[in-house]
Symmetry: D2
Subunit: 376 residues, 4 copies
């Protein structure tokens, strides 16, 4: 099987998430990075491309030109990864979608609603695949949990507690990563809620399969002078009557990247935490809690679909991310063959992106309106 | 030092919390149970008393008679423990307070506001000591945490996440313990919120020293036909701007008695969980997280005030409860001597009880009013 | 039911284990301390007794006198607790046994083999009950584990890994507790091996029901000048072919009181650790690991025999110790009635004490003989 | 920077460790697999190569031919990975070393001593780089621990407890992975001791920097009919007086891949476990235990040398393995430039391989000789 050709927009020298995408794309040997508009600064774009082994004629300074040129090449890219700050998603996404090139886009979908709509329109107009890297859905146990809920192992879901706590913005820090995330013109109106709140929200929906109907939110910027929220409290109401809470914080001292999900139903409950992602607690009501391990005893089909090493050999963040690239590869290959990917191919896409945008908007609206319940 | 004489109202055969109070009272050898109105059924009161070694002439069937008789005896009780269901707190509490006998009362303060007010008036009128057994405040590390916050180890508090999850009411269970707790005429209007939500609320206030100004709550009874809430979601606003969330549930499958507190300030964060109460995580911002142990390296004075065994020898629920009895003994002995207990004597009392009642009322009101922020 | 009368030898002011015995004896309300030879210093014996509410005429300075006097009283003690340093066990044990008074003795049995033999002879001659407080056998989950092994839940046992790590003797510390434990004239020839190694050894035997046939040991005193071992490595061979390792250390920095047992058989494995004693991991081969909790789902009869509070309410060191006092009470009451305690009454006694003495001796001999396998 | 060219011997369809090597080689984008003798079966070698995108003219059925041919090509491989069963290491290793092609070889070094010597001679004769994939040394926290010991953070080392427990050979299982590991003609005389015991041994030496002087071992095959050991107990004596224990088992029910190391010195102690490799406990004597995280607060230079994602984003087994490939790349590039790699480049090699062979031999000899202390 030959590798698919990948392009990248953003991710030049000094970027974090671009490097993650590149490693993730390599792990399962499905992709080869061959083109990029890695920076809007031409010199830096060139230098970054050279470092990554991209041929000079495919090192672009402008994503629009890249979309045109790659679409025109016989050996043009099979997909593009967009790893720019939030406010720079829509431009390249629309350009590549309209050029017929599948898009793998970092989350959240966009900084503003009109940008999100432009992406949605391009997807609707073209039918080009669009994948949003809510990468935590790539963890094997997260997928196992989703199937367990779908299989009824937990019964009817009642309570969903999800949280994502960090502490790196506890003080008024300034660096490349912090600056764009706390600048509403680049991140969008939401700070913490967009950056990590959407991950937590997506995870809860991915695992439970439940749509959120309304939120009551209390957003705050604790650090003096900060223009976007850095701590988010939300109560959730799901379709069918389940209830939940979501906490996201970037000022919770003692937390590095503590994404954690708990789901409780009429017959069972489960608990998973991203920082030790190879174990999950599961309890059937009235029985001892079980420690489920990645690929271990009792793993279901979804939990074993993308496994690279046996149980007890921890897989981590990069492998979970790689699973999205493996799914993207399958989607792209099916498209090339004119076939449909089977249902077990799971990749967040436009719907999840729009849902995330609605979540951000509803939380901000609720918070500005006395935490009133706000429909999504 | 001779033992103080303890009486008990409630706690007859088959009761849970009465037995806990009795063990707790014995651990530090400060109390001897000598009288009781252990049941409103005379035969059962007598039999229960006999089992506990209470002399027949001090086995009462009526708390009012007991208050009168014990107050009149030269060797009358030094304090009474009230361990009846919530709606039966006020009657005996008022009777003993007005008889000049200190009261150690189980929580919550009462089932209804008027009952709480009656107790408050009796305390105000008589000055008799009144101790409310929010027993989780007796854990050494909880006390250590309180002092750490007071000492500024966490800086200014920003975020308080507290939760108390159980699963024993996941189904429509019926037994002595379940029945009164789910019967509004005995438990009060709140179910889960009164039974365990008040513990969580009290713990957050005890450790942080912060008063809650307003709540936005979403209460629900998930089990069909249940007349009181069995799951509680609350957003909290504290004086000074800190924010929090409280989750209490009795239908969270996989949880036995999972009371857990996390506090995050400008300079530090901590995390404690009742089910493994001899360790606490503490992080100074920018430094590695520390594992603080009960009586271990770095324990402060509050954390070492009531220690029975060295670090590494786990103390549990009963020892924490016993600490409240040790504090009660000190209060009673000081009163007998006409002296004031020193400030390190910590025992929840009327104020905490009234605060808990306001919390229950505000949450119910908020929940019935679209989760609107409701002042306390 | 009236309380049994307890006497105590040792345990005067400043002692650690004496206070533990007293609390343990009170928790289940079966015992009342009424007599004591708390110190060999008469003044201190008197003062200690007064502090503990012991009547002056039952405050003895000499254990032999106490044994005589108490045996002669109509209201004499029902049992005596011996909580002196190791080299002071045999004297009082023999005196009380020969006076017909049951003995509850701290471990190890004695400092020297001849002392142990004297106790054994007194037990054999008199038939008086003798209980050795290997208190870790009192933990509910330890008892549950024992029954699980006996029930075949683990299949045939193959591997036993037991360890007991502390760090309080890492440096050349001097205080009351450290001094006698590192003085061979008081502790016996073994230091760490006697003080905590015997606990680990006893625990392994208690849970597995297997007799150790031979040991290969490597003992060392790491702290310069220390006269007894402070770190112990032992390989074990059990009857029937199982094998094991035992590590005991008092210089393992980072450990407070880390007693831990793992047992692996043909069909299952389990793991328990004293510092968080309310949970135990159990795995049936090929199935997910289960988290068994004290008194929780799946608890067997042995694990529920002595339970004071429901699952999720942690019981600790003192409650485990109290269980030995509860068993002792049952043994003493049966003796008074002339009946036999039922088989579920579990209390370590002379056999375990002698086995522990043989273990100490065999380890020391092996270590001095190039770690050669040494029969027990 | 262009990718280095990698060849592979072994690792055809159905192999486990070959796939791991390939992923590991890709993660940091330093290597491209371009040639292979993936199977000794020509058809399978061809098919496997085709699947992996290896050009047909570089798909060899014979490693000797591959060594000759690749050495002769201008674009010949820069290194070869040898991922065959143990008894098939020496042949290709010697062939490639003598062809001047650096070797990355799976562990243990060989099945027999004479094979190991042949490799050693080839290394000595040619000076060609030889890297042995004791991959657990690639974990960032393992490297951090090594530097901490070297920096004196633990003081003088006293006690080393290392263990590696699995349960997949609990029963008499037969499959490709199990069969060669339990066949002495392929695995060598050691079973569990060679397969995972050497990993544990290597880890202890890597972190502490201490050479083992002697072992006293007890090896056993618990499964009836098994020809090699499946459980290994070893006592260790290190240069300078430190002592240790090593336990390796493949029949320890409840363990997936539980490699765990504890090191205790005069001033500190640490504890690390492979199944949750992003955290490590560290205690300075007399201070609270710290939770050190991969790349987190307090990480030293060695712990941050190969980091792909920030703290809180777990890295796992494959990333640790990838670090050895990153180091191998640096060694190969330095060799090409005629320069020496800087001291922070860490890769186990021939010395570690020979040490491992001596360890296996000494343990087997000791076990056959009544567990007598056996020099290494």
């Amino acid at each position: 099987m030959t590798r698919l050709r990948l392009g990248m927009v953003g991710g030049g020298q000094g970027a974090f998430i671009g490097a993650v995408h590149r490693i993730a794309s390599r792990i399962d040997d499905q992709w080869e990075l061959v083109a990029g508009a890695l920076s809007s600064d031409p010199g830096r774009a060139r230098a970054s491309a050279a470092e990554l082994g991209i041929a000079p004629d495919r090192a672009y300074a402008d994503y629009a030109e890249m979309a045109r040129a790659e679409a025109a090449r016989a050996d043009g890219i099979d997909a593009v990864a967009i790893v720019t700050p939030n406010h720079m998603h829509a431009g390249p996404a629309v350009a590549f979608l309209r050029a017929g090139i599948p898009v793998i886009c970092d989350k959240p979908l966009a900084a503003r609603a009109d940008e999100a709509e432009a992406i949605a329109k391009a997807v609707a107009d073209t039918g080009t695949p669009f994948i949003l890297t809510h990468n935590y859905t790539g963890y094997p146990l997260v997928r196992q949990a989703r199937q367990m809920v779908a299989d009824g192992d937990l019964g009817a879901i009642r309570v969903v507690q999800v949280e994502y706590a960090q502490d790196w913005l506890t003080e008024d820090v300034h660096n490349k990563q912090a600056d764009w995330r706390t600048d509403p013109s680049r991140s969008g109106a939401g700070g913490c809620i967009g950056d990590i709140g959407t991950h937590a929200f997506n995870l809860a929906g991915f695992v439970t399969g439940l749509r959120t109907e309304a939120v009551a939110a209390d957003l705050v910027a604790f650090v003096p002078g900060r223009q976007v929220d850095d701590n988010v409290h939300v109560m959730l109401r799901f379709e069918g009557g389940a209830k939940g809470m979501l906490w996201a914080s970037q000022v919770a001292v003692g937390n590095e990247n503590a994404l954690r999900l708990r789901v409780h139903g009429t017959r069972g409950g489960l608990e998973w935490a991203q920082e030790n992602p190879n174990r999950m607690l599961f309890t059937r009501f009235g029985e001892p809690t079980q420690v489920l391990t990645r690929a271990g005893a009792g793993a279901n089909a979804a939990g074993q679909r993308h496994i690279r090493v046996p149980a007890g050999h921890p897989e981590g963040y990069l492998e979970g991310f790689a699973t999205l690239y493996a799914e993207a590869a399958e989607i792209v290959r099916h498209r090339a063959r004119g076939t449909q990917p089977p249902p077990e191919v799971l990749a967040p896409g436009l719907d999840e992106g729009l849902e995330g945008m609605r979540f951000i908007a509803a939380c901000i609206a609720s918070s500005q309106n006395g935490s009133a319940w706000t429909a999504m």
